[in-house]
Point group: C2
Chain length 380, copies 2
Amino acid sequence: MIYLDNAATTLKKPDSVYDAVIDCMKNYGANPGRGSHKLAMKASRKIYETRENIAKLFNIDNPMNIIFTSGATESLNLAIKGIVKEGDHIITTSMEHNSVIRPIKALEKYGVLNTIVSCEEDGTLDVKKLEKEIKENTKLIVTTHASNVCGTLIDIKKVSEIAKKNNIFYLVDASQTAGVYDIDVKSFNVDMIACAGHKSLFGPQGIGILYIKEGLKLNSIKEGGTGSSSLELYQPDVFPDKYESGTPNTQAIAGLNEGVKFILETSTKNIREKEEELCDYMLNRLKEIKDIKIYGIMDSKKRAPVIAINIGDLDSGEISFLLDSEYDIATRPGIHCSPLAHKTIGSLKQGAVRFSIGYFNAKEEIDITIDALKSIVESM
Amino acid sequence: MIYLDNAATTLKKPDSVYDAVIDCMKNYGANPGRGSHKLAMKASRKIYETRENIAKLFNIDNPMNIIFTSGATESLNLAIKGIVKEGDHIITTSMEHNSVIRPIKALEKYGVLNTIVSCEEDGTLDVKKLEKEIKENTKLIVTTHASNVCGTLIDIKKVSEIAKKNNIFYLVDASQTAGVYDIDVKSFNVDMIACAGHKSLFGPQGIGILYIKEGLKLNSIKEGGTGSSSLELYQPDVFPDKYESGTPNTQAIAGLNEGVKFILETSTKNIREKEEELCDYMLNRLKEIKDIKIYGIMDSKKRAPVIAINIGDLDSGEISFLLDSEYDIATRPGIHCSPLAHKTIGSLKQGAVRFSIGYFNAKEEIDITIDALKSIVESM
């Protein structure tokens, strides 16, 4: 099987990830923070170690500013809903995933307003256009770091400058970039970063991260047992407990820890360079295919290796189906939970076939994929 | 190590659980419902199979009425917040975990009222007392099935009758009973059941269940990509997608599936009988200890095998610490995230040492524990 669906989730993980998950479950899968016996303590320490490694990766001073959630979706919901109140205004872009758009749309009925800035056809954001939408009640700007449809990167530093200048909070959805691109919370000067653990951070599914800048307090979106301030009937205010009610996904955190350690050891630079090389190679070879439309920017330095294409007016679902059934190549067709992004790049009706490259892919797999695409086009 | 902290999480799982988690991660850990390639489809089918097995266990007709969450805490937050609105009134009991109390208390600032009915000193609920608290605006009753502190069971059928008679929704927290006690949603006639996957259902951590009765619709508490209705900017209304935004915890669901299959094969009757036998045995042997106070009901048919004790005025944390450090016996001291329950049974100041028995415990382990307790008492 050639797996080119890494933007949905990485399938292959470093072996240490699998080992850590099973080691945790079998040998110390107690309830961290809920008891002081040896195994509960070991589980707690593992969670803290993971916070520390993520802090290293993102240049975060205080590991307690890292919140573990059930995934990027919960991270984004917490970040968005935790910060706005009735009458506030949110600005976001047309390249966002539904995990950003839907919580924002759900807030409309609570009187939270929104503006969705249209990006250009290649997925880029004109930050001046975004700046023009700032109103007196604008409380939050949310943008993705890279499109999950066509990979286009958004210039986070520029958006952050505008946010700071206007005293607005800035939340970045780094689901497609964490672990590959250099995310430095200090130089980026962002207020919150949300990402999934199971994509390019190589963790298991069911775990996500929300970084919250020191001093920023959000309302919680779920409350419960925290193993702390247990006498209190109200949710405690302390980080990270306030946002982490209930038993954590301990074995997934232990796995994520190994994923992050692998990235720290390999270096994001090496990971990124390999992915960029594969991305360039694929972009170039795709041009060999007749009637191909490649969405987004053709420069691998300005995009994540998420490649969306269409061939003539062929059905994207059909191409993806044939790649899977005839050639054992996993891709994703359709809308990718991002209808506005498809509208922006002009593929809303057709959807697109998405090839998303990961660190463990190889050049030979891309060659096989190009050959398969050529055969499919000939046969259709 | 003797593990008597099963009420926090079961540590030992059937071997098939570990195998299923790793098999999923290594062989089909794709993103279910987000792509139509073979692995994504296999992951989707595994999730559906798990819904079917849970449906069998709880006698649920439609597996799509089972929602996967990140844990009992999210299930309870969704159930409670999804059903009430400003001006509504919730009734709950003083035996609840903070995962029930804290969401209810957090709703006060949104104008949702609550009454907490005091249970008796042995943890039992006088349902007439509860009935008296019903007001015209009472929308929801929430009770635990068994106390996580002293194991006392609450008569769900009786509470359900009162709820139905008064046209009030009834939510049961079955975190301490699912997989051991017979939970039949039809004969119980409850509207919602929340539970953890990682306790007596033998699943991994990070997965929870919410059953929602056919026809009942809740507001979502998080929105995002569902892999369905992808063109829609608003959260789709379809079950279970409406409540399951984002990538699921696929490998944990695959593990939970094996836990539930183990229970179906072993039968809750056999599991319960073994736990009851161990519980009776421990309750009886504990009486040998001087100055012991055993909380809750002394009849194992009326309680889950969660045993809270104190010895004279000895510090519960100290006893638990010595059991762990000197005898390698894992228990949990303190308040167990349930301050009102401790107030009810009269142990708020001292906390209690909690021994929670699971299916994989053995009589010999209880003998060793009793001997250890005796030695500790002598030495203090």
